[in-house]
Symmetry: D2
Subunit: 144 residues, 4 copies
C-alpha cells in the first residue's frame, strides 16, 4: 500500500494533545487524520466546509491502529491516500510516521449529504469532479 502515491501533511505534537500517560491521547489521531484530509482538499483547490451551507461530508466510519506512541514535540507526517470510492462513500487511508518510526495506520470513510436547515441529513451521490480533483492532488503531491 505504501508504495502508491501519497499526499503528505507535516505536524508537530502540541502539549494540550498529550494526556497524563505522557503520550498523545488516542482520540487526537483522528483529528490528525482529518487535518491531513483538509490539507489535501486545500491542495486540490477545494474547501470542505463553508458556513451556512446545506451540504456536508459527514463521516460514516473511522478507525486507527496504534503502533507506537507520539510524545510532546514529536514531528510527524500524515500520509493520505484515496482508498475505496463507491457511488456514495469516499475512503481515505492514512499512515502516520515520525521519521522511520510508524505511529499507526487508519482510515476515514465519508459520505456526501444534503442537510436543509432543520431537516435530517440525506445521502447524495458523491460529486465526481470533487473526487477526481482529490485524486489528482494526491498524485501531484506524490510527484514533488
Amino acid at each position: 500500500m505504501d508504495a502508491t502515491p501519497a499526499f503528505r501533511y507535516r505536524r508537530q505534537v502540541q502539549f494540550a494533545e498529550t494526556d497524563m500517560a505522557g503520550i498523545v491521547h488516542f482520540s487526537v489521531h483522528f483529528r490528525y487524520m482529518e487535518e491531513a484530509e483538509h490539507a489535501l482538499w486545500r491542495a486540490a483547490g477545494l474547501v470542505i466546509a463553508t458556513p451556512g451551507e446545506t451540504t456536508g461530508w459527514p463521516r460514516v466510519a473511522a478507525a486507527f491502529d496504534y503502533k507506537a506512541p507520539l510524545r510532546f514535540g514529536d514531528e510527524f507526517d500524515v500520509e493520505v491516500r484515496i482508498g475505496v470510492v463507491t457511488r456514495r462513500t469516499l475512503q481515505y487511508i492514512f499512515r502516520i510516521h515520525a521519521g522511520s518510526r510508524t505511529i499507526g495506520r487508519g482510515t476515514v470513510t465519508t459520505a456526501f449529504v444534503s442537510k436543509p436547515h432543520g431537516q435530517p441529513m440525506k445521502a447524495l451521490d458523491l460529486p465526481r469532479e470533487t473526487v477526481a480533483r482529490l485524486q489528482a492532488a494526491v498524485e501531484a503531491a506524490a510527484r514533488t
Copy 2:
C-alpha cells in the same frame, strides 16, 4: 462573594482532559465554566443554542485564576453566579472547588448578537426576559 446564591454543576475529571503534567489542561477549565453556564440555562428552561439560528451568545471575555490542580477522577463543583449585567453584556462568575479545596475562580462575559447567514455579527441589547430567568434559576438553585 461566595456568600451570595449560586447554581451548582457537578462534574468528574475525564482522562482525556489531563495533560502530560498529570493535571487537567488549563484550557479545559473554560469548558467546565461553559458546561456549568449551560446547565444553568437548562435549569432556567432555556436553550443557549439551536441549529441554524440567526442569533447567538458569543464570548467577549474569559478569565480564570488557578489555585490548585485538578487530576483524573477528581469530583468537583462549578458554582455559577450572575455578575455584572449591562445593556449588552452578561457576566458569569465561577468558582470551582473539589470538596473544601478551591481549584480556582473565573469569569466569562457574553454578548448577544444577530448573525444573519453570511453576514458579520452585530451586537444587540440583551433579551431582558432571558437574563431575569437566569437570575431566578440561580436563586432557585441556591434555595435547594
Copy 3:
C-alpha cells in the same frame, strides 16, 4: 450482540463537542467510548490510571461506525461490553444510542504495558484479576 449484558454510561452532549456542521465532531465519539470504559472501571472498583505509575493501558486499535449524528443537548447512553480477550489484549465493544436512535457502534482494544521512566513501553500479559472484575461489573450492571 446487543442481547448480551452491557454496562451503561449516560451523558449529554456539550456545546464544545460540536463543530461548524452543527453535530458532534467524529473524534469526540472516541472520548465518549473511553469515558464509558472508565465508568466501568470505577463500577468495578478499579482505577485505570494513577499519577507516576509505571504501567498503563495504551490503546492498540479503535474504530467507530457512525449511523446518526449527535447534536448539542442530546442525551445518550454508551453501552459497554467486553469483546475478545487475548493473553495481551482486551477489546471493548460499544454501542451509542439516544433513546431508540442508534448513533453508532465502535470498539477499542487495549494492551497492558510496563513503562519505566525514560524507557519504551513493553507489553505484558493482562492482569487476570482486572479482566475478571471488569467482566463481573458488566454482568452486575446488566442485572440492575
Copy 4:
C-alpha cells in the same frame, strides 16, 4: 504595547476547533496562546516539558478578550511578548490577528514548581537563565 518586539507564531484554524456557532470555540484561543508560548521556547532552544520530570510550569492565571471571531481555514498570527516578571511568576502577553483584523488579546501567567512524584506542587523561584533566554528569543524574532 504592540510597538514592542514580539515573537510570531502562525497557524491555521482546523475544523475540529470550530463549534456549532460556526466559529472557533472560545476555549481554543487558550490553546493557541500556549502553542505560541511553546514555539517561543523552541526558538529559545528550550523545552518546556519532558516526560517524568519533577519540575513544571503550571498556569496561575489566563485571560482573553475576544474582538472578532475566527472561522475554519482562517490563517492567523499569535504575537507573544514577555509581560510582568516577578520572582515567582512569568506573564506572557498575546495578540491574535488575522491579517489586519484583531481577533483578541490575552495573557497567561505561569509559575515554576517542583512536583516530586506523589507530592503536592511547591512554588520555586523562576530560573533566571530561562527567563533571559525567552526574552532574548522575543527580541531576536522581532529583528527578523
